[in-house]
Amino acid sequence: MYSRAYSRLTAIPPLTWVTLFLLLPYGFLFCFSFWQVRAQAIVHHWNLNNYRQLLHDPVYFTVLARSVRIAAAVTLFALLLGFPLAYFLSFRAAHRKNLLYQLVIIPLWVSYLVRAYAWKTILGTDGVLNTLLQYAGLSHHPIGFLLYSPFAVILTLTHIYTPFTFLPIYASLEHIPRLLLEAAEDLGASRLRLFWTIIFPLALPGVIAGATFAFVLSLGDFLAPLLIGGPNGIMISNVVVSLFGAAYNWPLGAAISLCMLALVVALISGAERLERRLQYRGM
């Protein structure tokens, strides 16, 4: 073991780095959110105006509500796809397990942008899907709502974040002692009962972890909405991006990000606490 002094010494560079480039910037975020823009310049005049504006202007609330709805839908669909997949792999796939596992992971390594763009190729008015439908004679006009809609954002984000829900669910399913299942089977429990009384409760921590990932990540996403969301698919992070860009109101942007940060941190810590409570502690 290393001595305490040595451990302290090696802790200095990373602590400095984290303080300088993580804590200090968060501090700036906090400070900026109480400042103001006047005549195209940021003035260090401390006040609560940004927060007041967030509360009073319904635009921000509408966009936030929409972002939460989109993120919730993504979470739901990602769970609906991720759970059965994890279940199948863990209990039914047998020797193909490892291969299938890798197959779920590989799309994770394909560039985020590239995958979002691929959906654009598929959904566009001259896209693969529309021309395919017309080619097959199923429709005569291109279907417009496919691209540039909340639907497109939800579809793309679900595609991107399904592996993220799959992984923790799969990990918790793999940790279920197979002896428990055998014992229940020997005692005459049906398949359904086995699932609801053993598998599902034990998979719950994984489900919560997966749902948190999908929700937090899709809530903070601003690239997919910009690329394929259209005006109705704008999310809260897009508002922040525009406030930091053309709209040039960093303080207001900082206030929104700080609220987002608080929401995300609250969510993550709540989920973590819930997971710990539900954790299986052995026989």
Partner: protein, 252 residues
Amino acid sequence: MAVFVFLYLPILVLIVYSFNGESVGGFPPRGWTWHWYEVLMQDDALWSSISNSMLVAGLAVILAILFGLPAALVLLPLILPGIITGLSLLMLFVTAGLKLSLLTIAIGHGTALISIAVTEISAGLQKFDRAQEEASRDLGASEWRTFWRITLPNLKVSIVAAVLLIFTLSLDEIAVSFFLVGRENTLPLEIWSRLRRGMTPEINAISTLIFGFSLATIVVWYKLRRFSNDEEEKGTGAALFQNGTSDALLER
């Protein structure tokens, strides 16, 4: 099985359409061509953005490993949301009067990806027998010597794995870079600015190449992990997720 179709369909479309003769999507694909790859080869802006990305990824690896290595010994994994990391660093750099450049992007990536280094390396630390360090100290080796002769060699595989992972993630990172970019673009930002302009089939071509490149890196990474932990069958992804690295991985 339908889920696999969902996961792979876009990737397949992308690869097929990178060889498509017509510039618009359209089904069925018409005319096999290398044209978009030729366009790609002659595109200087794109290639310089690739070399920029490589530079940033290299720096990010160095920063994250350098600071993550000792940090794994003492610090808890960090959880960072991407857009917030980007924004808050932007405020820091602007307030400090630092000009935005590839260096600021590299600092951003280094900060965002430290947690990858921390989780990979602490996973490595858990696997090796720490009693070896004690033995080394008891036999009179200094701390420095123990680190170089015992700890570091034992962590070799984890460090290489972390390097590959951070490099690949940095190459693809966009949420943090988006805010910290100066005059020179990284590859994802270059792709981004072209995508905003409309359909550009050479993006399909470069994407196919990136897909191939990440696939190759990941295969190497898996081989390494397999080599280091045969007893743990679950694979890296699950292990990563239990450690909570995921968040860094996910923050884009």
